[in-house]
Amino acid sequence: MAEIQIYGIRHHGPGSTRSLRAALNAFRPDCLLIEGPPDADDLIGLASHEGMVPPVALLVYRPDRPRDCAFFPFAAFSPEWVAMRYGIEAGASLRFIDLPHAIQLADGFGVARGESAPPDIEPHASAADAPSEEVTAVAPAAIRRDPLGELAEAAGFPDGERWWDAFIESRAGEDGDVFAAIAEAMTALREEAEPDPDDAFREEAREAHMRAAIRAASKTFERVAVICGAWHVPALLRHDARGQAGADAATLKGLPKTKVAAAWAPWSYERLATASGYRAGVLSPEWYDTLWNHGGQVSARWLSRAAALLRAEDLDASPASVIEAARLAEALAGFRGRARPSLEDLDEAARATLCFADDAPMRLIRRKLVIGERLGATPPDSSGTPVEADFAAQCKRLRLKPGADAGEITLDLRKETDLGKSHFLNRLRLLGIPWGERRQARGRGTFKEAWFLSWKPEWVVELVAASAEGGTVAEAAAGRVREHARNATRVAELSGLIATLLDADLADATGDVIQAINDRAAVSADVFDLMEALPPLAELARYGSVRSSDTAPVLAVVRGLVPRAAAGLVAACQSLDDGAAADARNRIVAVSGAVSLLEDQDLKATWQEALRALADQEHVHGRVVGRAVRLLFDDGMIAAGEAGDRLRRALSRASGAIAAAAWIEGFLENSGTVLIHGRGLLDVVDEWLGDLDPETFVELLPIVRRTFSTISAPERRAIGEALARPGGAPPGDEDGTRLFDAERATKVLPILRLLLGPEPARAAEAAIEGDAT
């Protein structure tokens, strides 16, 4: 009969790994059974490949629905990883024994027995795992995921590893048999625990499958080592109990199955960290890495690294301070009744001595020394990640061929496949795969889109890298956008991103980008940045895009931006030089346009109030003030009389020629059409010029000429003609309507009816409408 050892481990626990390595060296098993997906058995051998650098993850997914996938991340300090490496080196047989994901990911798994648990698998993250689930996770589930960590916390240890040191390793005695102690603890714990309300059947099936695998292995091998999460130990110990084989067979009978594929993918410490939403993650991968690589003097090493990190950033961190920090950490640990400082003690000591209680350097330490930035790598020939599979499936569905010759395609966005292609190409661009390049579409119409396609084989690497961010092309692209949104500093950059998201149909990420815009806008002191972001957002909010329908969130952002821009407008317009003033003028005009577009009275009032405050400024650049007055006049907020007064005041002799020139330029530039057709403005200007005494007129003439030179020659002529007409009436005004001869016009109606359609009523209507315009 084979000898069987069951090692209950803590996922990603370096202390646990160290004990496991010692135990394996002593036991010398010829077969290792690891809690992991049997679907990936063929890939275990690659673990010792020289191109394989942890952290890496095994991905198991459904090729038909790559979104349904499970990740099994491994770091160098993960017990499972060390067991795999040990097994390969010792030439032992290696098997994963968890319930295959061919079953766990199958449709109807678990449902058949009257349960409707979501397909969420521990101890690994499922791709669909939303971070919000993390918050609502109930205590029993947490105990299942990391029972040892929970025990540690109950004992007052913030870090499960220190508890492992203090309670498991130091009490294990000479024989080093920590695992017997764990089995005992878990047996006690499981006697108390309620069965998992959500996922009892999954757990039962998984444990049944593991027990069956142990029984199978014990028939062929001499010494069998079983490596599984501590929680499962008591259940697996029952593998040879009487009647267990029959019960397990009954549990596993008739389970649904589907086709799955598996692949290795590069992983990162950031994704391993709990902070990223991975449910069996650890709080501090880099700290665990340090614990694993440098067992003894971690405190000194960690604090020295922190000091080096601060020095690299030009912050003061002397070796003397490191010594003081180490002393404080030791004192704190002693205080709290521990033999060695935990990460928390070190963190607090570094804060008090090295960082002078400043948060910014502590964030740096946290990013680099607690979570870490290590990236893994997989051998180049081990491709086959879900993103690649999704890419292939999408190409097939959309009839795009990566290998095909370069060429141009024109898409009609009203057709579903073409729209899909456009989304797909846009998503790939976000992933750094510019397969398609947008070209100017031939022919008119917003429904047409032209792309130039040219594929490069090396882009496969980008696809593999993208799998660290999601299971499908869409998810990975959304992940990239989120990252981009996190790093963007300007609001305008983010508002551009929103349009990109709509183009790529990544509605899920829109919320994150909108949140980012709100956050940046709230703390941004750069009002012009906000103003630059506003018009494209307003346009989106008003008209949507050709493809999208839901613009409510965009509208919410705009509503937040307008008051902010209004509040800072006057201050932002102080001390502008000519170039900056022209820029500011353009932004103000654009925002005014955007605000009118939204047709929201509240927003409009807020903005006009800001414009009015700007118009009252004495020392702001004339071009800005002039335009503010003009915008208010156009909106009817300032009467013609007041506008004239302001014009007179701004161009009075005391103002100085340069300021006056700037003012009238701001007031009138690019207004040819308005002067011709809008009677009010022309009257204001005309009256002002007419009232000038000859001396002042001569003085101001160059300035006025200069401004009018921005108006094109035909427009200038039309203005002159309008002024020359009796009463100065512009063309097409009331006088024009009197020329309209109803009798002659009616004669055209029969022809129009013929042209426009058979229904007489509608044709007549159209004819009348035509007259009106």
Partner: protein, 365 residues
Amino acid sequence: MTTNGDKTAQLRRAAEDAFAEELAALRTSDGRPRPPNWQMSPQAVVTYLMGGRLPSGFEVSPKYIGDRRLMEIAVATLATDRALLLLGVPGTAKSWVSEHLAAAICGTSRLIVQGTAGTSEEAIRYGWNYALLLAKGPSREAVVSSPIMRAMNEGRIARVEELTRIPSETQDSFITVLSEKTLPIPELNEEVSAQKGFNLIATANNRDRGVNELSSALKRRFNTVVLPPPATIEAEIAIVESRVASLGRTFEIPAEPPGAAEIRRVVTIFRELREGVTADGKSKVKQPSGTLSTAEAISVVGSGLALAAHFGNGRLSAEDLVSGITGAVVKDPVQDAIVWREYLETVVKERADWKEFYRAARAGA
């Protein structure tokens, strides 16, 4: 030094007198090892600060309401012979913590140097009794010890209040004291060596640190602990309520006690602007240049009460609070005004039950 006999009649009693009973109970029940010259073990000091029940059943009242770990770091710092620098905005109980630490560790909180722009080196090192100096020449009797020198001689804790208000060149006197633990008296060719148990607790305001920024040489000799503003809105409201009530008694303001809703509103505004994020955590807001400490919130409510009592109808209303709040928020007439305006338009305006306050603030802005 107290010169008048009856301690109970003092306007304010020192911590070691006011809490003498608690300190005595802690000392008797404390079985853990004590650092040399400490009156109790570090653990007992933390219990004294945070409160708790002793094995004898004696109840120790909490002195500091907040994170226990901060007090542990502070006490561990003093136990490892490093000087402690308590930083925080006004009203975060820096001096209070410093006083109680000194009282618990060495039995006296009175060895204190109050930092001001006029603090001289004599106040930190030693001065001379000039009559004696002229009559007998330089001698040990003619030396007038500073609180720091006395603390060194006796192995006790010395306190420095408002360290950053002391001129930089005077601050430097601390460097020798902290690194060499001696105080040379060159006139006598002698020096005072610190006895075991000597240490220094300094407090400083970390918001207007521009006054006299600490040199990095001095900074390195301190372990820094920042005392944060109250962690939760409920804690802060409780502090404001109790302080306003006692203010009202002291100044005999005849107004009704303020409504809980008005206090909550003031505290909410202060917290949101201080932390740069709305109470629901959903959106960020710009932060003004002022500190907006709990102490200021208390004074805003206090002056609002006075306004209501003397010029209003005796009930604290939004109008009575607006001017105080605006004054506390808008310290810089340009930048802060934008911040306040933006806050009104994007946060206050959206809150259904804040309409009255919004109107009052708009009218005042």
